[in-house]
Each structure stands twice: as structure tokens, then as C-alpha cells.
């Protein structure tokens, strides 16, 4: 390897040149969805709640590009707003679960011993509940609102993130460079922040992508069961559920949100796979 200083810019350039057409397409799809989510009110032709016609399940036409839903609302507009709600919810949930899961997981690994045992067994107990069941119980008893939804799913995701983060940190904590920091007399927080985190970043980034996809699927699943986002607000999962009957009338209404979910999930997974492969190839190959 020719020794050269690695800057962020050159790393970014390297990343771009490594993109394969498939990955580039997936990245493009993801970026498009994010742009749609950001600018939904300006892009959407109608308001998401406005009932525009008495006819439900209209076929796509000039005024309503994707037809009407079961209440006569514009499917395209609801889809655009639905993407916005679903994506942002998923993002907040994933950030929350990562922040708490990674902090706790790293601290458990840094302190080790009894602290680690207690935290990890407690986490195992949480993991033993089926995720959807747990969410149903909590949301049913507290009532569905954005806050409850976000906190519940973030908490469930946190237990998963905790496991990954702790496993990563435990492996890093036994490295000699961490031991060197311990001998120096560094505190646990410094060690976690400066020695462990930079070395765990790439696998964590990949995990972030996977968790993000799961969060979307989870919100959609809850909405489909009627416990997620409440009407008239739209959300991809809600839309699938609401318009299921369209199939009986020979319309594809329910498939549009389903296709959106599939596109986001698949693109995210392809992108994350690529990221993982790249990071493992970049590890310094010693010996």
C-alpha cells in the first residue's frame, strides 16, 4: 500500500468509484424517497385528508394519478405523505434505539463483571418476548400516539442494538490498545468514546441500515393491525390495510404503498450489504 494521507474527501471519492450500478440505483431510490419525504407538502397535489370524490377505488385518471382510495381521497397524495410519516418515524426510532442501545452496550462491555452480567441478562429477558406481542400490549394499554409508538418501538429495537454493540465492544476491549489506555489511567468514558467507538463505527453503520428497515416494517405492521399511525394521517402500513378491499374491485390501490415499503427495504438492504462488504475489505490486512 502506498502510504498516503486519507482525507474525508478522498474516502468519499473512493466510495463513489466503488459503486456498482445496482448499488447506485438503490442509493438513488433511497435519496428520491428522502426528498419526497422532506418536500411532501409541496409535491403532493392534494391534502392527505381531503375527500375529493364520492367514488371509492377509482382507477388512475388525469386528476388523480393513482386513483382514489376507499373514502375517495387521492392515493398519490396520501402515498407521498405516508412516505414522509413512515420514513421520519423510522429515523427517529432508529436514532433513539441506537443512542440508548450503543451507550448501554458499550458501558456494559467497559465495566464488565457483574454490571455486564446483570444488564445482559435483563436484556435477554426482554429479548425473550416476541417483539410484536410486546408492542401490542404496551400500545394497547397506553393508547396509540406518535410518542408511545416511537418510544415503544425504540425500546424494543434498543434491546437488539444493545446485543450487537456489546458484542462488538467486548471484542475491542481486549485489544492491546485499550489495555494501553487502561494502563495510562484513562477513565471508562474516555476509553469508550476514543478507543472503542471509532473501531465499532463501520459495523454499527451497517447495523443502523438493517434496524432502519426493520423499523419501517414494524411501524407498517403495527399500522396494518390498527395500532400504529391513526387515521386520517396516512402511513404506508395504514394505506395497505385501508385499501385491501380494492383488490376485490380489480384495483391496485393497496399495492402502491406495499411496493413503496418493498423498494425502501430492499434498497436499504442492498446499500447496507455493500457498505459492510466495503468495510470488511478495508480492514488492514496484516500478517
Amino acid at each position: 500500500m502506498t502510504p498516503q494521507e486519507r482525507t474525508w474527501r478522498s474516502q468519499f471519492g473512493d466510495a463513489l468509484s466503488d459503486l456498482t450500478p445496482g448499488v447506485a440505483l438503490c442509493l438513488l431510490i433511497l435519496i428520491t424517497f428522502f426528498l419526497i419525504a422532506c418536500f411532501a407538502p409541496w409535491i403532493a397535489p392534494y391534502d392527505e385528508g381531503a375527500i375529493l370524490t364520492n367514488d371509492s377505488f377509482l382507477s388512475p385518471n388525469k386528476e388523480m394519478r393513482l386513483g382514489s382510495d376507499y373514502l375517495g381521497r387521492d392515493v398519490l397524495s396520501r402515498l407521498i405523505f405516508g412516505v414522509r410519516v413512515t420514513l421520519f418515524l423510522a429515523l427517529i426510532i432508529t436514532f433513539l434505539s441506537f443512542f440508548s442501545g450503543v451507550s448501554l452496550g458499550f458501558l456494559a462491555a467497559a465495566f464488565g463483571g457483574r454490571v455486564d452480567s446483570w444488564m445482559s441478562r435483563l436484556n435477554d429477558a426482554m429479548l425473550s418476548f416476541p417483539a410484536l406481542m410486546l408492542a401490542l400490549i404496551v400500545i394497547n394499554s397506553l393508547g396509540s400516539s406518535f410518542a408511545v409508538l416511537v418510544l415503544t418501538i425504540a425500546f424494543i429495537d434498543m434491546t437488539r442494538v444493545y446485543r450487537v454493540a456489546r458484542a462488538l465492544a467486548v471484542n475491542i476491549m481486549v485489544m492491546d490498545y485499550v489495555e494501553a489506555a487502561i494502563v495510562r489511567g484513562e477513565g471508562k468514558i474516555w476509553i469508550v468514546w476514543h478507543e472503542v467507538l471509532p473501531n465499532a463505527l463501520t459495523p454499527l453503520a451497517a447495523e443502523f441500515g438493517i434496524r432502519f428497515t426493520y423499523a419501517i416494517l414494524f411501524i407498517s405492521a403495527l399500522s396494518f393491525l390498527g395500532l400504529g399511525v391513526q387515521p386520517p394521517q396516512s402511513d404506508l402500513g395504514v394505506m395497505v390495510k385501508e385499501n385491501m378491499q380494492a383488490i376485490l374491485y380489480g384495483e391496485y390501490t393497496t399495492l402502491y404503498p406495499a411496493i413503496c415499503i418493498a423498494f425502501i427495504a430492499i434498497s436499504m438492504n442492498v446499500f447496507v450489504d455493500w457498505l459492510l462488504q466495503r468495510s470488511s475489505a478495508q480492514l488492514p490486512d496484516e500478517l
Partner: protein, 555 residues
Amino acid sequence: MPDPDFLLQVCNLDVSVQNKNGRKHKIVDDISFNVSPGQVIALIGESGSGKTTISLGCMGYTRPGCHISAGSVQLGDTQVLEQPLPKLQQLRGKEITYVAQSAAASFNSAMKIDAQITEIPVITGAMSRKQALEKAKQLYRALELPDPETIGTRYPHQVSGGQLQRLMAAMAMISGPRLLILDEPTTALDVTTQIEVLYSFKRLIKENDTAAIYVTHDLSLVAQVADHILVLKDGKQVEYGPTSQIISDPKHEYTKALIAAAHLMPSKISTPDISTQTPPLLQVENVTAGYGPKQQSIALRGINLSIQQGETVGVIGESGSGKTTLGRLISGLMSPKSGRIHLNGQRLKHHVSKRSRNDLKQIQFAFQMADVALNPRQRLNKILGRPMMFYRGLSQKDATNEVSRLLERVDLPTDFAWRFPPELSGGQRQRVNLARALAAQPKLIICDEITSALDTIVAQQILDLLEDLQDDLGVSYMFITHDIATVSKIADRIAVMRHGKIVTQGPVDQILTPPCHEYTNLLLNSVPEMRTDWLDEAVVERRKLMTALGDKRET
């Protein structure tokens, strides 16, 4: 044209790698050599010189990403490189066999030894299982393994490292290969076991009239087994000739440097001027420590050791002797079960979390493997600057300036401050590792085997640097190693450890000049001498010493 005298003829071998931009780069360049049956050729060079790549090339194999771009390899009448893969697979394991560096990593820990050793002849149909077992037992006897009848019924973890390495040779020899490739087969072994293993390899090769390629970076070992030596540097041939000529009359500068840096006892051990001040810089008093719950399995027993300001104390012993544990205790990574440690006459708290920042500053630890001791995601500026900021309260800006000075001090360019450790070579990393310890401006640096993972020439440079720094800064070293030749060059005083106890200690000239302690003798006897008939004498001597020590331990 094939020459009937030679079993293996390698002609103008080139191996290339292709980088990301499609450019080709030769890592092995125009190598030719011949081996006759019953003869050993040694490929010698530092890491990255292409010695393993050449030996794999003789099997028609390259690591992923490399390919053989030119040349020919002829084994008997067979052109190895022209064979299709199925033919090659028959050749490998039957005609050409390979003994890897780490036997422990090459055995399947879930299968019994016999099953693994007999596997290849049985699956290729060369022998029945019964015949193969019979042959295996013959080999066990030839390799002088204990209990040749039953050792094969054990699992790999039930035999010692030296035995496993010899079993690996048995596995390679069972199908009666014509060519045996040995890739650093003794590097991972303890010094005292190394010569036994070497001796059995040598005998086996002679008795079976096998040709062998021996890959290593240690010239003094090669002198014992090889008939011819091929010296390599950066994939090119530097010198090629009979062993006796290469070691007695080297032509090339690089070969001379290799010989100068070989693991040999210095011809004369200088008398250190030992000043005794009171109190000494560091005093370890009657320390006992162990591992496990309540430290029940004892690793150290009643250790007494003192280190004066500005001197180097060598702590020497085999793996498992407790020398690293002692270093960890002094640095505070581990607490002793009983006993006291004093620094400048003041009692030192046991664990690192209880010590004051000033006490921590005085004792620094340099780790063995620089590649895992430096955080790969931190620039050198941070790795070296942090101890300065932490101990000496320097600002970020002052620390950056100080890092430049420190890099110069350890003979590295100052712009290295902005590099990451994976961008450095092994020797450069070891310098950074040392520099990090120096950054704290300590009184004592504990050096844990800091030269053992390095090539001999690079290791010598690090030792020179250590001495330079000591002259300038008056820092003391506790030099932990298994290599008595290295320690005799650098230490003022020596403590010899065995089974968790210090068996003898004192000034280096007293400890190493006869009459020595029996165990010191054994260690001294294990250091190869640069003459071809040394090995046979050493093995006889070693067996006598082992009996004298009353050691029933298997070799």
C-alpha cells in the same frame, strides 16, 4: 532441460499481484534454484520478501490476487505449473506437502490426531486405514514422540506445542512426498523446544531422502539444517550458494547485515557498572499472584526484584514462566495476591485505578505486538499526543509540536503524525509503540517482548534505539523476553524465571559466565551457533541438562 540429479527445478519464477487500477506489480522476480533428494534449501529474508510466496508457487499455488506470471517449476518429470487443477490436487498432499507455521491452527481440534494424520493417504486410496496407521506409528517413532503407540489417540490440545509441530511433520511425511515445504516451522515454539523439533526434522529428511524447502527469517537456524541458502530481499535473489559459503564468506551487503543481526550470543559480554542507590527506582518485594477466582492458580511465587535508575533489567523465561504476569503486576493491570511494590521508596498502590496520575506517569508499558497495541483508527498525532496531554497537561497545540520532536527522536519523519498505524511497516509501528511510552516522560518502561515479532535486522535497530534513548534520557527498562541472546546484548542485570519463580538473578556477566545455574545453561544451550555441526551437539547436551534439571516435562 531436466537434470536427473535435481528433484525440483525452479526456473525464472515470477509472481505478480494486480492492484485496483489494473497495474501489475512483481512480488517475486526471476527466482531460480534446484533441490536434490535428501537436500534442504533455505529461503531466507525479512517479512514481505516473497519467501512464502515462492514456496507456495512450487506447489502451483498462489494466494488470492496473485498469479504466477512467468517461469517453470519442474518436479521430477512433471511440469507443475502446466498441470490442470485435478492433477495438481493429486500432486499436493502426495508428492509435495506443506508444514505451516502454526501447527495449532492447522489441526482440527475436534478430531483425534490419528484420524487427521491418516486422512490424506486413506482418502486418496494410497493406503488402507490399517496401513496408514502403521506408517503413522513408524513416523511417531522416527520423530521421537513420547508414547508412539498411543499418542495418536489423543486430541490436538492434549499434546504440547512442540509435539504438535512434529505431528504436523508426520502428517506431511505419511504419503511419502518427494518434496517437503517447511514454512517457519519453529518460529512459534519456545527456544528450548525449538532445537529438538529442528533435530527431528533434519533426521527425517535425511532418512527418507526427501527434498525440502525451509522458509525462515532466522539465519542461525538455517545454518543447522540447510545445504543451500537462497537469500531474498523484496522478491529478488540477493545471494544463492552452499550454506557453509554463505555464512563464512557472504558476498552481498544484505547477507552480511543478516548475519550481523542473527540471534547469536555476543562473543563478549560487557561488565555493567552497577551502582546501587537506596532506595532503588522500583522494588518488588515478595510478590505472589495468580489467576482465576481468588487467584487460586498461582502464576508467580515470592518474587523479589529491584530496578535502579537508568539500568536495564532483563527478565527471561519460556512461555508460562510468569514473566509477562510480572510486567502486568508492576504496571498495575493486575493486583498481586500478596507482597509489596515500591516506587522511589514509596509503596505503590496495586491496581491502576487506585494509583495517582504521577505514579502512573513514572511506569509505562510497551506491548509486544505493535499492530494491535496502536488503535488503527487514531492518527499518530493523537496516539502520541494523548499521553502528553493526559500526564503533562499540555495543550493540543503544544502536544502537536512535541509529537514532531518525539517522532524525530525515534527516527521517524515528522509528517507521520498524520498517518494511521496500518499505514506503517512493522518496525515503524514498534518505534511508535516505544514513542508512546516515552511521551509520558517515564522513569521506567516495561518492554514486553517488543522485538520478538520483528525481523532480525529491524529488531537490532530497535535495540540500538533503546540504548540511545537510555543514554540520553536515563530511563530504566524492564526487558521481558524469551530470547537470551537479545537480553545478553542489552541488559545490565538479568533475572531468569521458571515456573513462576526467579531461579537466579544478578549482573549479566555473572549470570551468563560459567558456572551458571542449570536452567540458564539450558537456555544458553538453546541459542544456535553459526556453524553447521552445532545442532547434533546441542541436542545431546540438552538431553543431559534436562535430566539434570529433573524435568519430566515432555518436549
